[in-house]
Amino acid sequence: MIPDRARFPAFSRLLHWLMAVMILAMLLIGIGMAASVSERYRVLVSIHRPLGIAILILVVVRLVNRLFNPAPSLPATMSALEKLGAKGSHVLLYILMAVLPLVGWGMLSAARYPIVLFGGLHLPPILPHNLSLYSGLRQLHTVLAFLLFATFIAHFGAALFHGLVRRDGVLESMAPSLRNLLQSEHRDRQSHD
């Protein structure tokens, strides 16, 4: 039977998919610019900084939104451990979304690089000029970025597992277009059973 589940409100879904695109782009731009010595380097750096700040602003909007629009409850078919994993991984995602841009801003400050958003718009430094501090934050930025990518892979895998294997409405609660498709298909199957 189809679980009767509430979906995320439209604004929550909009924020989720907007940030999903931004964060995936950010991860790819980040690993690409840290490797590149080609002309793409300059372009990637110039996107990475303002995009990171945009994510930082959006994660604040998203946390506030989450206070007013809590997530729908997880299906009863999930075990306590699965629910703990789901909650924990989401907390980790939120922490990384907020901390990575701050570490980036902080490390540029400690290195005394100008923090350029657009041509005329620079952000002020938030930490003192200190090479050791820069080095530590620069390494932390990489470690956290890989952790975010790993968490994304877990999130993506879990979402697909809910949608394709469990078919418990969790994926559909965030994905309106998929929801219609999968639920109608689900109903078809149910009617044949």
Partner: protein
């Protein structure tokens, strides 16, 4: 539709689909990071090349490892305002942090007249955007791409058996990089001045200046030495000591500030902006943007101002923009990697070769 439905109703197929999706995501991530393309030139491979050729020198810059910190100021004439809206070109005085250095990744190399000399500068207009530039005492750059630079590193590296570069490698390199052969013939014809104080330092890469009306022009820039003192008043560098170029520079700055005129060369529309090995015609218009005065010098150790600075050529104020020269991205990327590596080694760094004796400051102060 029914076939697709039947297919994904099979649990194994559905799990395989999920696995494929995750592997695809990881593959794309690794591809962008260069993990699956060992031939691609990356920041890691460029840094490894410096280490391979020069050996490890913890805490020093990968290139231009031997140097000394200076400070001073820039007096702008205001004449460059017509072509650039950058705050640094407004009439007035701007503090400057700089570094004189020798090309090469060996921090303890012996000063030689033919070694390429560099002047890196950071302009810090108060309350406005800063400008960093690194310039060399050669008329054109020897390579025009990151690959050219990488190949040149190995072609000019001393052979461990002879202690000298292998001529066969150099011939092969020049065959693969005809632009370098042409550039080296221009560079070999230059007049080499006696020291840092009378060297002309050229920006080499092209940039674009944008003025307040939004007009963009291609530019290159140079710092031309000013003969501010009669020669007999200045200690002349003589090749005797291993630090003779730097020691003469320090003695000169202690006696009298040194000055360079910042000359902006405005290119024509069809002058090459993407190839630092090719000179622009001599008749191009020059703008006298102002004078850089250097009046303080300090060793890199002990918290000198230039030590914590990466003279990244892409730290540009509004009004100066990068051109299509691929070397700008390459330099910026590799400088950043070098900076990150040495920032993690500040506690392992031995003292720099160039020491500034504070007693000499008191002894010669006018």
């Amino acid at each position: 539709m029914i076939r697709v439905h039947e297919l994904i109703s099979n649990l194994a197929v559905r799990l395989a689909l999920i696995g494929c999706a995750l592997l695809c995501a990881i593959f794309v991530f690794g591809y962008v990071g260069g993990w699956w393309s060992p031939q691609r030139l990356t920041q890691d491979r460029m840094a490894a090349a410096f280490l391979q050729v020069n050996g490890p020198h913890p805490g020093f810059r990968l290139n231009h490892a031997k140097g000394v910190c200076v400070t001073g100021w820039f007096d702008s004439t205001g004449e460059a305002i017509a072509v650039s809206k950058a705050a640094v070109f407004q009439v007035g005085k701007v503090p400057v942090v700089g570094r004189f250095s020798l090309a090469g990744g060996m921090p303890f190399q012996v000063d030689k007249p033919t070694t390429v000399r560099a002047l890196a500068l950071q302009f810090l207009p108060s309350g406005a955007q800063e400008w960093r530039t690194a310039t060399l005492n050669i008329p054109v750059f020897a390579v025009n791409s990151a690959r050219g630079f990488y190949d040149q590193l190995f072609a000019t590296a001393p052979d461990p058996r002879t202690g000298k570069p292998d001529p066969a490698k150099m011939t092969a390199f020049l065959g693969a990089h005809p632009e370098t052969a042409k550039a080296l013939s221009i560079i070999s014809k230059r007049t080499i001045s006696s020291g840092f104080f009378d060297s002309t330092f050229n920006g080499l890469n092209a940039f674009r200046f944008v003025n307040s009306a939004g007009a963009s022009v291609p530019v290159r820039w140079s710092f031309l030495p000013m003969a501010s003192l009669p020669e007999e008043a200045m200690p002349q560098p003589t090749p005797a000591d291993e630090n003779y170029l730097f020691d003469a520079l320090i003695a000169q700055i202690h006696r009298h500030p040194l000055q360079w005129r910042l000359m902006i060369t405005v290119g024509a529309a069809d002058d090459p902006t993407d190839d630092a090995t090719r000179p622009w015609p001599n008749e191009r218009r020059n703008i006298d943007a102002g004078t850089v005065t250097i009046d303080q010098v300090a060793s890199e150790d002990g918290g000198a101002s230039c030590t914590g600075i990466n003279f990244d050529p892409l730290v540009l104020p509004n009004g100066i923009e990068a051109s299509d020269d691929p070397l700008l991205s390459a330099r910026s990327a590799v400088y950043a990697r070098s900076f990150t590596i040495r920032a993690g080694q500040v506690h392992e760094k031995p003292p720099s070769a160039v020491a500034v004796n504070p007693r000499a400051v008191q002894g010669t102060a006018p």
